[in-house]
């Protein structure tokens, strides 16, 4: 048991030690001249600043959520279709109930104006 995992342990220790050493070396040896760009939060090379001013319409998210719901519905439909013969009437009834519930939510979303892009 111990012998099996010993190399793994050594590897982890080496990895941690190496990372720590490099980090400490950078802290000790590196020169630190701060520029405004460096002081900014790092966002994968993108400069922060402008992006947060773009305002997205809430309708965008509503549509996305409604899409997800019906996308998942399609996933369940595929699974049912693949097992259609084995599940028989029971499966059909289950699926009808499932679709009915989703249909009600669709009517609800529609009536509540989730699909009106311009308000």
């Amino acid at each position: 048991m111990v012998a099996t995992y010993l190399p793994l342990l050594i590897m982890i220790l080496v990895a941690v030690a190496l990372a720590l050493t490099l980090f400490l070396l950078a802290v000790v040896l590196g020169n630190k001249n701060m520029t405004p760009e460096k002081a900014m939060p790092y966002e994968s090379g993108q400069s922060t600043g402008d992006a947060r001013h773009i305002r997205l319409s809430l309708t965008f998210f509503l549509t996305a959520i409604v899409f997800t719901v019906f996308d998942i519905e399609a996933v369940f439909l595929f699974a049912w279709a693949a097992m259609f013969r084995e599940l028989g009437w029971f499966g059909l009834m289950e699926m009808v109930a499932f679709m009915l519930i989703l249909g009600v939510t669709l009517v609800y979303a529609f009536r509540k104006g989730a699909f009106e892009w311009e308000k």
Partner: protein
């Protein structure tokens, strides 16, 4: 019994919530939704009651058996959950209109949460436990964020959502490990495998602690309580009442089922091994922390949040005691949950009735002198506080009495637990009585905002009903205890 009949309380609430959605979508009169949804919920409770007293079948219909139990205990919880949710829907009817928050989605969400809670409390399979838990929780996150414009509501909801998803993930991980350890997902099968010694014991123990963590989060036991004060404060008061009664009841139901059915063997449920010592420690920390933190609150909803943490601690004592005197302890927990449901609805309802638009009672100072100005509105507040405190002729007293009694019968090692609980509830008396002191013995500061009582038939109905049950459960507790005992007998 056909599976349809056995499932009828669930079906009524499920189809009812869709009906409420449709009525909301096609009608402009929103306040009627309160009557509609509470009527549907009360009907579901009545159906559960008649199923139970009309004679339950000895066995759950085969098609349901692996996933949902249709036993006396699930009917007991159906009644408690639907009753509590109906009272909250009534409170909402008054509150939403008064504070100009009238939106129909509250009621459909409330009913869907109640549906999830009912599934959770009768779940007998790890899969249905998780589905029930998530159905309930997702709705509750939305209920907390119901006042969309308020930063506090959003903060509470986000905190609750993040921590809640994390807890659900831990619970799911635990379920997966339990399946790995035993090869079963149904609670009964897991229990048998562990008892026969065919389970991977170490793995099962890890799984057990993960399940306990996930469920302790839902009942807001310390140290998994961080979200409670913020979520309770941010949510609108009827939603807070709902969270504190329905969510808690369902979480305790599933905790009892999982611990007793899966981990009822002598090794996992021993005086010094398995879950009883873990839960005993959690109970002690929860009681002490909840009661002491509640003293320092100036906001009444936060105070009630810490009080609900403290009550979770008392109920956990009953859960611990179930390892030895199962029937006595489980029935005590059930009685406590029912008593806590009506008492807490009464407390939150009284808080609602003490506020009008723009003048909601939030802090102790807002209540100063309110009892003199509105004596009739203060009366339910007093009854609610006395019941939460555990004062004799109320439901809360017998709840505590039965739980402590079960703990004393269980094991001589549990005496210290009861002693701590009694001291903790004595500390609790301080902040409950403080409400009454502010209502009657303080005068408002000059120029300070004064709470004005609202007039609403919905809220008054809910208050009268819950006050009636608080007093009746306190005056004739044996009837309700008999019910709880019958319900507890169904749990194997």
């Amino acid at each position: 019994m056909s599976p349809w009949l056995a499932l009828s309380p669930l079906l009524v609430v499920g189809i009812g919530s869709l009906t409420v959605m449709m009525v909301d979508a096609f009608s402009n009169k929103k306040d009627d939704l309160s009557i509609l949804s509470s009527a549907i919920l009360i009907a579901a409770a009545a159906i559960a009651g008649s199923l139970w007293f009309g004679g339950l079948p000895p066995q759950t219909p085969e098609i349901l058996a692996p996933y949902l139990a249709v036993d006396a205990m699930s009917q007991f919880f159906n009644i408690t959950i639907c009753g509590g949710a109906a009272l909250c829907a009534m409170l909402a009817g008054g509150y939403l209109r008064e504070h100009d928050l009238e939106r129909g989605d509250f009621y459909s969400m409330l009913m869907l949460c109640a549906f999830g809670a009912m599934v959770l409390s009768s779940a007998t399979d790890l899969v249905s436990v998780f589905i029930g838990l998530e159905t309930m929780s997702l709705g509750v996150y939305c209920l907390v964020a119901f006042r969309r414009g308020s930063a506090r509501a959003i903060e509470g909801a986000i905190k609750y959502f993040l921590l809640g998803s994390f807890a659900a993930a831990i619970l799911l991980f635990g379920s997966a490990l339990l399946y790995g350890a035993t090869g079963h997902t149904d609670l009964l099968g897991i229990g048998q495998t562990i008892r026969n010694g065919n389970a991977e014991l170490g793995l099962a123990l890890v799984a057990m602690s993960m399940l306990v963590v996930g469920l302790a989060f839902k009942v807001s036991a310390v140290p998994f309580h961080m979200w409670t004060p913020d979520a309770y404060e941010g949510a609108i008061t009827p939603a807070t009442a709902f969270m504190s009664v329905v969510v808690k009841a369902a979480a305790f139901a599933v905790m009892l089922r999982v611990l007793i059915t899966c981990f009822g063997d002598p090794l996992s449920a021993g005086a010094a091994s398995g879950w009883p010592p873990i839960i005993a420690v959690v109970a002690v920390v929860t009681m002490i922390y909840g009661n002491i933190a509640a003293i320092y609150q100036s906001n009444i909803k936060r105070m009630l949040a810490y009080s609900s943490i403290a009550h979770a601690g008392y109920i956990l004592i009953g859960v611990v005691a179930a390892f030895r005197v199962q029937n006595t302890a489980v029935s005590a927990v059930l009685y406590y949950l029912m008593a806590y449901t009506v008492s807490n609805v009464l407390a939150f309802g009284s808080l609602i009735v003490m506020g009008t638009r723009g003048k909601e009672a939030v802090t102790f100072d807002d209540l100063a002198g309110a009892g003199k100005r509105h004596p009739m509105a203060a009366l339910p507040f007093i009854i609610g506080m006395l019941s939460l405190m555990g004062f004799p002729p109320t439901a809360g007293f017998f709840g505590k009495y039965y739980v402590f009694n079960a703990a004393l019968q269980a094991d001589s090692g549990m005496h210290w637990l009861v002693i701590i609980a009694v001291i903790a509830s004595a500390i609790g008396a301080f902040y409950y009585l403080r409400v009454i002191v502010y209502l009657f013995m303080k005068d408002p500061e000059t120029g300070a905002p004064q709470a004005v009582a609202m007039k609403s038939g919905y809220v008054v109905t809910a208050l009268v009903l819950s006050a009636y049950f608080v007093l009746e459960m306190g005056i004739t507790p044996s009837n309700y205890l008999k019910m709880a005992l019958a319900a507890a007998a169904g749990l194997v």
